[in-house]
């Protein structure tokens, strides 16, 4: 026998298969990074040009690209903005954590038990169908305007989304592995860790990313409606005082910030299963 490292210490085999990857990239000539950069810059330049043209036909209501760029520079040098951005980000993370946790629990219950699924399915369907601002309005009517009511509204809005994705993944699990687990008497914790988690993980990561995208947009919306602070409140203030360039600049900077967080934090979770 060849000498082997203990299984836990071994690095998984390389995951990049040999040869060209499947999908569109494998069907034609590969685009170099330089080509990609040039394409991206061209698209951005066209977007800015289109923006500039539209601003010329908007009777001065729509700021030009230069005004937006100047406002963006102001936002970036304004320390108050970072305080508001941190406040919004904290709300986003709170909503995300609570809704993913609740959605996971509900989704796993619905996926593992037919009775729970029969009970929860109509609730999830209705929960998904209700427009998100309705949750915010209803929660304000019930709980009043407060930090808590805003967060609760968004958790209630996003939880059905997570639960739906997770329950689908749990239902679609490999039932033959359940049989194996029962035969070898794996306890609930071992079953969850070794059998279920890996099968549900891609769906959970997908739900996490979608929830994050929904969370920060809804947090901004909620802040415009109910809060005196946060990025949403800044955007609303700029709208009230007819400063569209500030409004756009705030939204632009916060959007970039959220995208960076998504790419750096959430994309790292995308890890294919060994095959």
């Amino acid at each position: 026998m060849t000498a082997v490292l203990p299984a836990r210490l071994r690095k998984p085999p390389g995951r990049r298969p040999a040869g060209p990857p499947p999908g569109p990239e494998g069907n034609g000539p590969r685009v170099t990074w330089l080509g990609r950069l040039a394409s991206g810059l061209t698209a951005a330049a066209l977007g800015v040009a289109a923006w500039q043209v539209l601003s010329l036909f908007s009777d001065g209501w729509m700021p030009g690209a230069g005004e937006v760029a100047a406002a963006t520079a102001d936002v970036l040098t304004d320390s108050g903005f970072y305080g508001d951005a941190w406040l919004s980000l904290r709300r986003v993370l709170t909503v995300l954590a609570a809704s993913v946790l609740a959605g996971l629990l509900i989704g796993i219950a619905a996926g593992l038990s037919r009775y729970a699924e029969a009970f929860l399915r109509p609730i999830l369907v209705i929960g998904l169908a209700i427009p998100d601002p309705v949750y915010i309005i209803l929660t304000i009517l019930i709980m009043g305007i407060s930090e808590t009511s805003g967060v609760v509204a968004l958790v209630v809005a996003i939880t059905p989304l997570v639960a739906n994705v997770v329950s689908g993944a749990v239902l679609a699990r490999d039932h033959s592995l359940d049989e194996m687990a029962r035969t070898y008497r794996l306890g609930p914790a071992a079953y969850a860790r070794h059998v279920l988690a890996a099968q549900v993980r891609p769906a959970v990561v997908g739900a996490l990313r979608t929830s994050f995208a929904f969370s920060w947009k809804l947090v901004v919306l909620m802040e415009t409606m109910t809060r005196p602070d946060g990025v949403g409140a800044r955007i609303y203030e700029a709208f009230r005082f007819l400063r569209p360039e500030d409004m756009i600049a705030c939204a632009l900077v916060f959007t970039v910030l959220m995208r960076v967080i998504e790419v750096l934090a959430l994309r790292r979770l995308d890890r294919p299963l060994p095959h």
Binding site: M1, P6, R182, Y184, R185, L186, L273
Partner: protein, 269 residues
């Protein structure tokens, strides 16, 4: 692994497992009807039946995956009709490997051993031993899906034996393998059984496989399964696939089975 039948085993004359008139149902449908069967300590019994006759359902009952719908189940002479869970540690080899693709070969075996209560200090030695016996030791750190079908099934057998089983249940484990690999695996299994002497119930629909492996072959009817005939295999061990005596016995058993399954007027198979 328990090398021999424990001295404190069943009382003289008591089979290790005994089924009396056992009936198994799926919903309202009877899939096994009044089976009488005994598995003696250290014995290798093959259950031979046509596809879909309920052989696998019987194994499910013994593995504790399904309840007994009628009849009685006894373990070493004691009543066990409510199920063998908690009484018997089962090593199960499924028709497909059923290894966790996201755990390495070694981890798959570790998980089963941990659940079976095998002391952690013994894991390493057991993994080495059983993977070595099945000639897949070098794949301990590999992902199961990187292995061939035969190698995966070897790992699956190693897992079944590593949990220190009281009984091994095998559900057509070699039916998905090519002929050469299947032969090699049967040879390995015979060797392992001689070393381990764990009572083994082996489900198959291959007559030659049943005769090559088993001490006793129980021929089942079309579903719902019932016992048509029991055959003590009169072949000395070690057995060889090329043995003319095996071929003769196979021919006789085929004729017998065709008659029992009422296929003598049907197309030759």
């Amino acid at each position: 692994m328990r090398g021999t039948v424990p001295a404190s085993g069943p009382a003289d004359g008591d089979p290790y497992l005994e089924l009396r008139g056992v009936t198994v149902k799926h919903a309202d449908r009877t899939v096994v009807s009044g089976i009488d069967l005994a598995l003696r300590p250290g014995e290798f019994v093959a259950l031979l039946g046509p596809s879909g006759c309920g052989k696998s359902s019987l194994l499910h009952v013994l593995a504790g995956l399904a309840p007994v719908a009628g009849g009685a189940l006894r373990h070493r002479g004691d009543e066990a009709t409510d199920g063998l869970r908690g009484r018997v540690r089962v090593g199960y080899v499924f028709q497909d490997h059923r290894l966790l693709p996201w755990r390495t070969v070694g981890q798959n075996i570790e998980i089963a051993m941990k659940a079976a209560g095998v002391p952690a200090a013994e894991w390493d030695e057991r993994i080495e031993r059983f993977l070595g016996m099945l000639r897949v030791a070098e794949y301990r750190g590999s992902w199961p899906m990187r292995l061939s079908g035969g190698q995966r099934q070897r790992v699956s057998i190693a897992r079944a034996l590593a949990v220190e089983p009281d009984v091994v249940l095998m559900d057509e484990p070699f039916s998905g393998l090519d002929e050469v690999t299947g032969r090699a695996m049967r040879q390995e299994l015979t060797r392992l059984h001689e070393v381990a002497s764990v009572p083994t119930l082996f489900v198959t629909h291959s007559i030659r496989e049943a005769l090559f492996l088993a001490d006793r072959v129980v021929i089942l009817s079309h579903g719902p399964a019932r016992v048509l005939k029991t055959l003590d295999v009169p072949l000395a061990r070690p057995r060889r696939h090329e043995d003319p005596a095996l071929a003769r016995l196979e021919a006789e058993t085929v004729a017998d089975v065709l008659r029992e399954w009422d296929l003598t007027e049907g197309p030759a198979s």
